[in-house]
Amino acid sequence: MEHIRTTKVEQVKLLDRFSTSNKSLTGTLYLTATHLLFIDAHQKETWILHHHIASVEKLALTTSGCPLVIQCKNFRTVHFIVPRERDCHDIYNSLLQLSKQAKYEDLYAFSYNPKQNDAERLRGWELIDLAEEYKRMGVPNSNWQLSDANREYKICETYPRELYVPRIASKPIIVGSSKFRSKGRFPVLSYYHQSKEAAICRCSQPLSGFSARCLEDEHLLQAISKANPANRYMYVMDTRPRLNAMANRAAGKGYENEDNYSNIRFQFVGIENIHVMRSSLQKLLEVNGTKGLSVNDFYSGLESSGWLRHIKAVMDAAIFLAKAIAAESASVLVHCSDGWDRTSQVCSLGSLLLDPYYRTIRGFMVLIEKDWISFGHKFSERCGHLDGDPKEVSPVFTQFLECVWHLTEQFPQAFEFNEAFLLQIHEHIHSCQFGNFIGNCQKEREELKLKEKTYSLWPFLLDDQKKYLNPLYSSQSQKSAVLEPNTVSFNFKFWRNMYHQFDRTLHPRQSVFNIIMNMNEQNKQLEKDIKDLESQIKQRKTKQTDGILSKELLNSVRPESPALKATLSLKEQALLPVNNVLRTIEGSSPAANRYSEYADEFSKAEPAVVSLEYGVARMTC
């Protein structure tokens, strides 16, 4: 609270982000302990969580006031004009403080209270149980076992306590191998493919330098290889570009030498590092935030940002991984440098391609818990939860979500969840409202006592499941199917609903998806109604002594003649109030249309030069 000097400013203008004529809404700005709130003249509220604020910028004073531009981690950009400079300055300073907390304990999750008791909270945390998940995969088994080597985080601080390793890998081998790997992240099981008996394993880069080798590490890889009776060789995927990996050798790190490891097939897949990804996203956001953007600038910006190229690289790597397992039954060891960014992307996407379970709502939560949270993807650093090193921030997890979105586009029926689910998760990796994504590894989370002090996101998402269901999901058709996405360049598109989530004017005005989703819901209700009605009719019928209604009328409903059906639904639609609510035409109300986009200037009195917002038209003579 001590950061908040001004809690309320009136007559603040909220500018339309893409309007070149400075269209704006006037309203009141409030600052609370957790949120920034703007209420416009129509009582429409815009809430911005302080933790979502990525940057606050004060622009040069204008005649109408002091402009304040706030960019959010969920890609919302708001542009306020505060009438008095003093107020602006106060808000600016407050937001700087509030958006960058120094201590974990000041994050929203530690004060957020959804009015649940301790038992409920604990149950929420137990909802996703990774031990259960490994059991589902089929481990432990004759080849894989649970290792207690890291039970006290002694071998690797950034790994979880419970790790699965080949049964024949003894503790000395594990310890030896961990000493030969960056941050002690030795090869462990990430996903076990039961029918192929092949495994996805993950680790960090070996400390091989130019010539160093480690027998234990070589043994461990051999053990992984042997744990797969179906195939003699295994793949080692270094997800970095070859040059980066080679450069690491000079620092005593590097990659596996094929000569030292028996039966490995080594492969680089060329995903760029976190710094490249960060600046790529930066460029992308710069381009699509431009007012009056031309098509050519948009596409050349999209190209030069490299964003889609990076997404494709991640996807291609995951496909390589899935193919090795599905087609060759070969186990794969994946690593990058530290094994918590690119490795998490590739392992989780690979598993998603292989296992339909991860394409369900609950399965996707499990996947994130396993490959991202438990294996130490540094969420707090990558999302910049605290005021830390900006060079550690990187949209690695965002890229993962985008890859999943691309898959949902190519396989519209393969996923139980919809786009809103992905967007909601993205919202919460930054919100710090729930404990799941706070901290950088399990050890740190335990020290923060997150399970006692904060709530888990997953039960809240499950409670809201209806919103996140894909109405077209078909668990049958692709149940056992391995997804084989096509990564031809033209299949990758700009994810407008993510990067312009809050820019409503850019989106289609009617959403087929919502309509189908509502209709699906309505169908369930109707099915229930039919049951109710049928039982009521039955009751009445048995009560009635003379059954006037012929039997056929009762049974004829399904295979009814189309003509009758048509007249019925036409005539009696009025009976169903739901029907109207369901199909209201979004965005077709006059208030919601975007007429002003094309030419704002018309409303002004007779300018000598007609300039049009989206047009190049100029009347000069």
Partner: protein, 601 residues
């Protein structure tokens, strides 16, 4: 085997070539070995597996591009010996030097072993599909190639398919009479007291590219129209294109005024367009050309309306490109879409370089501007470019899609195409002759109509429930504009169509489309009449590549199609359930009243 379209099959029966038509040579022994390799896709694929079915190619011969780019010697390649290999992408070029532009999915690329020389014919179709035929035997291959070439480069319109096509369906409604100008005028008549139907162009003498009947201000007589015609490019005097019932404002279209360098003026022209203005009101003239182009046009006798002579009008210049610029754009785009091997950067830069979406944005923006003038400014507008047969029609027709709910229905959209494209004299014969694969410079070739359809698709995507038709309807129109068994899109204007006696000699597309069995394929299950003006977003982030056209043959749409079917199922099921609930409710109500009757006495 994928099913052939009914009209393909029926033509097989009537395949006797017209007199003077080159008789194709098809050796019987060869045909069984003919293979169709890539692009086996959806219902329209042809599998050429027997001599009889090779005939099935003929109906589509009009779908083929002309001359050597299609089946010229360059594309007809012979391999000397037996070939058996799983080809990888890199081998492709070596194997078939002429086939560099084909995109294949590698897994399908297995070439069975043949003994003897193998010829390859590559057929590039106007709908952007590329078909490859591998034919054993050099002579046979050459024969087939020359036959296809001859049949796809017919000189005379009267030798084209529509003149030989015999429909196998019952004609319920003759499409030639579905959208008569008189009927269309009737639709307005209640609201129009200031307009009349003029037959001044009855003999096509005043304006060769106008239909016999046009709608003009009542205050202007036919003599004045004749004078105005001499002042407008191609005799295209301003006529009514759209009447906005909400406020009585109108869209008119015309050719450019022939002011020339010395600023010629025409009092009748001024009077004509002023006649559409209410007292004290101003109108807008939208010139689809940038100012400098319009100024240059004066040197060639053209020009634009001078303020001094049209004080009640404000002129706005836009820049919609024309002819070869659009054609080059299409060629680049299709070429890029066919290349499956390019990396992301190359794809994006080629997509950008094609400028296709820039054209889409420009056209849509202009149409929105026109709609805005009408609906928001309450001003009438006159739209023209140079001839008034291309960009002008894109703008007038799209403005109507935005403004007029009727034009978003199937019937209304057909009427719109009939009125604003066919009757309005868009030269389909010239513009849609060869499509994207022609390598000879065709001066008049231009995808003006395709751009219009693409713009409609963009609006459809943004308002998926406001259109009675679906994407397939637009794709179907694209196909028939370029190659059809129906006469609708033949000729460049009404006058030519009259001379060709199309109504007597060919079948109208609408006769086929408007049958319930066909309509069901083109109906949007989500349609819910929306009586409002629909304003699309024209931001680059909101525009998309029309995959249904440009990526159609380059990717599998299996999962997308299945998802669409599932969506339709949900909608159908919903209807079914509602009907059932209603029926049960009625039953229950009846039972209740009976109970009441029984209980009361």
């Amino acid at each position: 085997m994928p099913s052939l379209l009914p009209h393909d099959l029926c033509h097989e029966r009537n395949a006797s070539p017209a007199p003077g038509n080159p008789v194709p040579v098809i050796p019987n022994n060869v045909s069984d070995k003919i293979l169709l390799l890539p692009h086996t896709h959806t219902h329209k694929s042809l599998i050429v597996s027997s001599s009889k079915q090779l005939l099935a190619v003929y109906p589509e011969n009009s779908l083929l591009c002309r001359s050597s780019c299609l089946v010229g010697s360059a594309s007809c390649v012979f391999s000397p010996g037996p070939i058996w290999e799983e080809l990888r992408a890199t081998d492709k070029q070596q194997f078939r030097p002429g086939a560099g532009r084909i995109g294949q999915r590698e897994d399908e690329l297995k070439v069975p072993r043949f003994v003897g020389p193998l010829g390859t014919i590559i057929i590039k179709c106007k709908d952007f599909r590329i078909i490859q035929l591998d034919i054993p035997g050099m002579e046979e291959c050459l024969n087939i190639a020359s036959s296809i070439e001859a049949l796809s480069t017919l000189d005379s319109i009267t030798l084209m398919y529509p003149f030989f096509y015999r429909p196998m369906f019952e004609v319920i409604e003759d499409g030639w009479h579905s959208f008569l100008p008189e009927q269309e005028f009737e639709l307005y008549s209640s609201a129009i007291s200031e307009w009349r139907l003029s037959y001044v162009n009855k003999e096509f003498s005043v304006c060769p590219s106008y239909p016999p009947a046009v709608i003009v201000p009542k205050a202007i007589d036919d003599d004045a129209l004749r004078k105005v015609a001499t002042f407008r490019h191609g005799g295209r005097f301003p006529v009514l294109s759209y009447y906005h019932k909400k406020n009585g404002m109108v869209i008119m279209r015309s050719g450019q005024p022939l002011t020339g360098t010395n600023g010629r003026r025409c009092k009748e022209d001024e009077k004509l367009i002023n006649a559409t203005l209410r007292a004290g009101k101003r109108g807008y003239i939208i010139d689809t050309r940038p100012l400098n182009i319009a100024q240059q046009a004066r040197a060639k006798g053209g020009g634009f309306e001078q303020e001094a002579h049209y004080p009640q009008w404000r002129r706005i210049h836009k820049s919609i490109d024309r002819y070869h610029i659009l054609q080059e754009s299409l060629i680049k785009l299709v070429e890029s879409c066919n290349d499956q091997t390019q990396n992301m950067d190359r794809w994006l830069s080629k997509l950008e370089a094609s400028n296709w979406l820039t054209h889409i944005k420009e056209i849509l923006t202009t149409a929105c501007l026109a709609a805005q003038c009408l609906d928001r400014e309450g001003a009438s507008i006159l739209i023209h470019g140079t001839e008034g047969t291309d960009s002008t029609l894109q703008v007038t027709s799209l403005a109507q899609i935005i403004l007029e709910p009727r034009s978003r229905t199937i019937r209304g959209f057909e009427a719109l195409i009939e009125r604003e494209w066919l009757q309005a004299g868009h030269p389909f014969q010239q513009r849609c002759a060869q499509s994207a694969y022609c390598n000879s410079k065709q001066k008049w070739e231009s995808p003006v109509f395709l751009l219009f359809l693409d713009c409609v698709w963009q609006i459809l995507r943004q308002f998926p429930c406001s259109f009675e038709f679906n994407e397939n309807f637009l794709i179907m129109l694209f196909e028939h504009a370029y190659a059809s068994q129906f006469g609708t899109f033949l000729g460049n204007n009404e006058s030519e169509r009259c001379k060709l006696k199309l109504q007597q000699k060919t079948m109208s597309l609408w006769s086929w489309v408007n049958r319930p069995s066909e309509l069901s394929k083109f109906t949007n299950p989500l349609f819910e009449a929306n009586n409002l003006v629909i304003w699309p977003s024209v931001a680059p982030q909101s525009l998309q590549l029309w995959e249904g056209i440009f990526l159609r043959w380059n990717r599998s749409s299996k999962y997308l199609d299945e998802a669409y079917e599932e969506m339709v199922n949900i909608i159908e099921y919903n209807k079914e359930l509602q009907a059932k609930v209603n029926l049960l409710r009625r039953q229950l109500a009846e039972l209740e009243t009976e109970d009441g009757v029984q209980e009361s006495p």
